[in-house]
Structures are given as C-alpha cells and as structure tokens.
C-alpha cells in the first residue's frame, strides 16, 4: 500500500543522505521524495511517498524518528490531505498536432511555458493521478522530455503541523 509521509528535519548539511540511506539500508522503497526549507529556515520538510504494509510503515516511521536530525514524522495515510504534484513536459509540436496539444493543455488547466516552432513546454499541477492522465494523452503526440516534482501534501482543516508539536 502507498503511504505519503512528511518529515520535518534540521535544515543542515548531510541530512538528506541520512534519510535516503535509511530507506536503502533497510530495504524500504522510496517512490518519490521532495524537499525544501519551511517557513522556519532552520527546518526542511520532506515529502516521501513509500510503499509497504502497516508493519513496514511503523518501522519506517520509528526509524525516521530515531534519526537525530529528524524532528517530526507525519504519516498522512489515515488523514485527509491535499496532494499536489507538478510536471513539466516538452512535447513535439509539429504543425498537424499543435492545436491538439493546446487543447489537451487547456482541459487540464496546464500552461505553456515555452514555445518553439517544433515544441511546446507545458507546466501542469494536480494530483499524481491527474498528471498521469495528462501524460497518457500527450504520449501519442510525442513526449520529448518530462520531469515530475513528486507530490507534496498538506493536511486538511485548520490544524497545522509545526516542529514544536
């Protein structure tokens, strides 16, 4: 089963390899990982999508908590959360498909961020499933290059996760 966890860590040299090393060293999967500083610049927030049964998830969460640089681990699996991912796609845009590419982009509320005579670069955000759908539609038209950010998540409702909680 897929799980999305957020990890608040010290924004310090060498923390990322500790987290990544923990996953590889213990045979846990990382489907995606995104990381950037939070409002408090001394703290970074990682969003990790991983897979495993409850026992594995419990171990992942405990093992992460055991790292000295990890301040908090939040497993979003049992909670309501908003999930967003971004994709940048460079598609072939020869004369006959130019309009089709734009139409698809439009349906997905994606933006064209770069244009040449033979290509469009498109930016889209949404749930990972929505981005999958967009990519499937663009694929037959010719995808030259694609990059996804990996999802980031935020719990729903007024409650917020801070390092002190």
């Amino acid at each position: 089963m897929k799980h999305t966890i957020s990890v608040l860590v010290e924004n310090e040299f060498g923390v990322l390899p500790r987290v990544a090393g923990l996953f590889s060293g213990r045979g846990f999967n990382i489907d995606s990982l995104s990381v950037a500083p939070t409002l408090d610049p001394t703290i970074s927030r990682m969003t990790i999508v991983t897979r495993g049964d409850n026992r594995i998830l419990e171990q992942i969460s405990k093992q992460l908590n055991k790292l000295i640089d990890v301040i908090k681990v939040i497993d979003f699996t049992e909670q309501n959360f908003v999930e967003r991912e971004m994709v940048l796609v460079k598609v072939t845009a020869d004369a006959e498909y130019r309009a089709e590419v734009l139409r698809i982009a439009d349906i997905f509320r994606a933006n064209v961020v770069d244009v040449t005579a033979r290509s469009y670069s498109i930016e889209a955000t949404g749930t990972p499933a929505k981005l999958d759908a967009l990519i499937e539609l663009l694929r037959p038209l010719g995808i030259k290059e694609l990059v996804r950010s990996g999802p980031i998540v935020l719990g729903r409702g007024p409650k917020a996760w801070k390092s002190s909680e």
Binding site: F13, G14, P17, K62, Q63, K66, I68
Partner: protein, 565 residues
C-alpha cells in the same frame, strides 16, 4: 581566552571526565597529538586503529563510561569501521574522533581523504563533520550526550585539520539542545498495568534478558523483579552477566547455542517478558515456532526494536531504570495474588529442573586430549568473581557463554551483534586499562587471536597484565563445525595449516608464553599463568573437532536442537 580547535577538543574531553583515550597518530591529527602532551588525558598507543576502537569500546563496557578513540584521516579512519560497527550493534557508548583533510580540500580526493561521514552513517548512532571551530565545543557536548543517552551507541566526529588549527573563544555549553532527540521516555502507566496483569495471569512465565540490562546497570533491580515473581530467567549473550548464572532460576543462554532447558522453556512458555533485548535471529530461530503460545511483554528504550521481529502484546517503551522498579512495585501491590502465582508456577519451575536434568550443558571428558570446555571450567574455578572475561568469536566464545558461570555484571565482554573476530584481545586491553588491578582474560581461538595479535606489543608497553587463553584447535572451529554438520565434512579453508608457536610469539613481544597439551597440565598452566606478572599467553592444544552443542541449525525452531554429534 582563545584556544585552538585541538585544544578545545582535549579540554572538552577532560570536562566530560575522559581519563584514557586509545588511538594512533597521523598527519591530520598531529595537532591533537601535540596538544595531548600538555593535557592530563592518558593515551594508549595501540598498534592498529581497529584495536584502538575495540579497546575504547571495552573500556566503555566495563566502566559504563563513554569510550574514546582517535585516528588519523584516510586509512586510519577507515580502520575504525569494524570497531564502530561492532559497538553500534551492541549499543556501546563511544566517541571516535577522526582527523580529516583541511576543509578546502574536502571532496578533492586529497591525500588520505576518505568520506567518513558517508562511510560510517549506517554504523554510528550519529556522526558529525566539524566545519567551523566555533561549532566544535557544542558538537563534542552533543556527541557525548548522544553516545550515552537512550539506547547508547558510537558517535563519530570528523575533524578537519584546519579546524583543529584555527582558534576561537572556548566555552563549554552546559546543556544540550536537540529538538529531534528526546531519548528519555517513561513507560506508559496503562501498559504497565497491563503487564502486571499478564504476569499475574501467567503460569509458565520466562524472563528473557538482553544487553539493555547490562547497559543500564539494572542487575539488582532485575534480581528483585525475578525473585518477586519467581520466574526462570534466560539471557542473551549480551545480557549474560547481568543475572548470576549460579542462581537457581538461571537457565543460562537461549538461542542457537542456548541451553536445552532455556530453549524448551521459551518454546513452551505462556508469557515472555523481554527486558532490553531485541529478538535477534540467533535468539529466536524460526520466528513461526518461536514461543508460539506466549504472550509477549517487551520492554525497550528503542521503539524500533519493538515489533521489528516478533508480535508484541504489551510494548513498554522506556528505560529499564524506569520500567523495572515500577513493574516490581506494581506486582508487589498484589501480595496475595503474587503468592498464588508463585505457588501455581511451582510445577513450571519443576519442569525446567527436569529438562535440565535430561540435558544439562555438558561434554565428554577424555584422558589424553584437552577438552576446550574443561579449560573454561577450570578457568572459572581459578579466577576471581570480578575477573573480566573478553572473548573473540567462534566456538570458544560459545563455550565461554555455556561453561563460565558469570556472576557479576559487566564482567563479560564479547562482540554479540556483529561477531567480530579480533575483538577480544584489544577489548581485554581496554578493560585492563580501566581496571589495572582486576584479572582480565581474553579467551580466544587460534584464528581470532591472529586478527589483532599485534596488540601484544601494546600490552607489554603499558604493562597491562592481560592473560590470553588460546584454545588452539588448528581450525576456524565454528566454521568447521558448520561444514561438518551441514556440508558433509568438506573442510574448505578452515584448517589453519601453519601451526604458530604462540609461546615463542609471546616471548618475541616480551610477554610470557605457556602451553598445555594434556588434560593433567591444564590446571597447572592456568595457575602459573594467573600468577605470572605481565601479559601471558596460555596455549591449550585442544580436541580438534569438538562441537558446540546444543545447536539450533540456522532457520530451525528453538525446539529443534541438535543435542549430540
């Protein structure tokens, strides 16, 4: 007043109460070694960095303090890896300081550069690269705190040469601020109540004690707990000396080379009370048949140990110092029920006595060849109760666990989790450095001994009178045993074809060498060895193909023991 990084380091160590450091110099720690000449800290020059780290590790095991070792960058630092991994697996508090190339050169493949932070990340509790001398005092303070608190472990501090040389005002922080690290947890009272109920309901309880009892110095509290409920006790290799093996409730060790009765008791139990143990595969055997009918109470300070390998009915995350007295007090409140429980479990205790009579730990004595087990029995007889016994890894280690009745805590020093051959001699050295007056003995095989035999020089130089018992079977005995039992006696690369003259070797280093080849010489050699001042090697030519029994083959259940060859 301003101080240089190397001065700050030594001053911090002094303030942490460090008296003795083990290490080996080199280019990137030369400043530290220079300042060491003006510091009150003792330094022991080992002959290999691995040995320095093992010595610091054993120093920690016998004293309960944090062990400290120094090594230079590159090869010196990489030589510490086995020592760090050994300490990590056994949760030993230790701080290892490695030199590093100057910060501007880091990442350039500079001479004697190795990425120690990367290399040691999975084998340390935490590690630090100090990039600014202003951070140094805080980092050392944190390193010691992390090493000794919660579930202890080794911490590496990688210290570039330019940081050692630059200066700053020195101030040692009084407190540690680590928002991601809150190790001292107190167990949940509701879970404690549940545990008390389970204990009062049990009719076949077993107390299973791990290294946590040793690390937290809980022997007296453990004794009180056990006497309160009158439950039989089994220990892991790491828990061994924390409960006296001479006690009528002691069943000795469980697991792969555990006693028949301990393994039967665990398998048949209806309640397993795990104290500071981690259900390692050498202990559980096949998980599916491990204590199948038992409820499990698991007390551990490290939440990751709980439910990692086995299901747990009552998890108690907390320090044993917190949990054990509360558990005992909780039970003692139920005086009447407790008396009933003790009466109702008499049959269970009797069952264990019966199992023990059926298959005691034993061996067959022979007239003309020395049995290794006999040497260990004799050694027990002739040594003090507070003698510290270190071992290497192999058959001799398991025989020590089976035949040497440990009585006092922190008297058994052995590499349990990693199983590091070459650990015992430097470990004995570290223990003797901590307690110059006590008897310290390394029980070794001929294979393991040769992995760090250079430490004989260190022993002689520092007048550390370690006694080394070599049970010489001219084999890598433990591997040979597996080959005999599971590979049709095909002894691939386990025969030590070159017989080393260990007596001459001892003499070459300026130590004493003694040898016994017949059973009737054993006692005399031990007596003489123990009485001779300074380091002594006592070599015993033992039965070559003796096996460690009982044995639970890897992957089998605890009740599927091989009892005789």
């Amino acid at each position: 007043m301003k101080k240089t990084g190397s001065q700050i380091l030594l001053e911090c160590l002094r303030l942490e109460g460090v008296e003795t450091v083990f290490g080996y110099p080199g280019g990137t720690v030369i400043n530290i070694y220079d300042d060491l000449m003006d510091s009150p800290i003792n330094h022991i020059l080992n002959r290999h960095e691995q040995a320095a780290v093992h010595a610091a590790d054993a120093y920690a095991r016998v004293t309960g303090k944090v062990g400290v070792a120094f090594a230079t960058s590159g090869p010196g630092a990489t030589n510490t890896v086995t020592g760090l991994a050994t300490a990590y697996m056994d949760s030993i508090p230790m701080v290892v300081i490695t030199g590093q190339v100057p910060t501007p050169l880091i990442g350039n493949d500079a001479f004697q550069e190795a990425d120690m932070i990367g290399i040691t990340r999975p084998i340390t509790k935490h590690n630090y690269l100090v990039r600014d001398v202003k951070d140094l005092a805080r980092i050392i303070k944190q390193a010691f705190y992390i090493a000794r608190s919660g579930r202890p472990g080794p911490v590496l501090v990688d210290l570039p040469k330019d940081v050692q040389m630059s200066s700053t005002t020195f101030e040692y922080p009084e407190t540690v601020e680590l928002r991601g690290y809150k190790p001292t947890v107190s167990a949940n009272p509701r879970q404690l109540d549940k545990a008390v109920k389970l204990i009062l309901a049990a009719r076949k309880p077993v107390v299973y004690v791990g290294g946590g009892a040793t690390l937290s110095d809980m022997s007296d509290e453990l004794m009180e707990f056990v006497e309160t409920i009158q439950a039989p006790v089994t220990t892991t290799l790491m828990g061994m000396a924390s409960f006296p093996n001479t006690h009528p409730l002691s069943m000795g060790m469980l697991g792969m080379h555990g006693t028949f009765y301990a393994n039967m008791a665990v398998t048949d139990s209806d309640l397993l009370i795990a104290l500071g143990a981690r259900f390692d595969d050498r202990v559980t055997g096949k998980i599916a048949t491990f204590a199948p009918d038992a409820k499990i109470i698991h007390v551990d300070v490290d939440p990751t140990s709980i439910k990692k390998n086995v299901r747990v009915d009552v998890p108690l995350v907390g320090m044993l110092q917190d949990v054990l007295p509360r558990l005992t007090a909780g039970l003692q409140k139920h005086g009447d029920e407790l008396r009933e429980v003790i009466a109702a479990t008499a049959g269970w205790r009797q069952q264990i006595v019966t199992w023990r009579e059926e298959h005691p730990i034993s061996y067959k004595q022979t007239k003309n060849t020395i049995k290794p087990q006999y040497v260990i029995e004799k050694l027990r007889e002739l040594t003090d109760d507070d003698a510290i016994i270190a071992t290497e890894v192999g058959q001799h280690q398991m025989w020590t666990a089976q035949f040497f009745d440990f009585i006092q805590p922190r008297t058994f020093v052995t590499s349990g989790g990693l199983g590091t051959m070459g650990y015992g001699l430097p470990a004995a050295l570290g223990a003797q450095a901590a307690f110059p007056k006590r008897q310290v003995i390394d029980i070794s095989g001929d294979g393991s001994f040769q992995m760090n035999s250079q430490e004989l020089a260190t022993l002689v130089q520092y007048r550390l009178p370690v006694k080394i018992v070599i049970l010489n079977n001219n084999f890598l005995g433990m591997v040979r045993q597996w080959q005999q039992l599971f590979f049709d006696r095909r002894y691939s690369q386990t025969c030590m074809e070159l017989p080393v003259d260990f007596v001459k070797l001892a003499e070459a280093y300026g130590a004493t060498g003694l040898r016994a080849t017949r059973p009737d010489e054993v006692e005399q050699v031990i007596r003489q060895g123990l009485e001779t001042p300074g380091p002594v090697i006592m070599e015993f030519k033992v039965a070559r193909e003796e096996n460690v029994l009982p044995m639970v083959p890897a992957g089998a259940g605890l009740n599927e023991m091989v009892l005789a060859s």
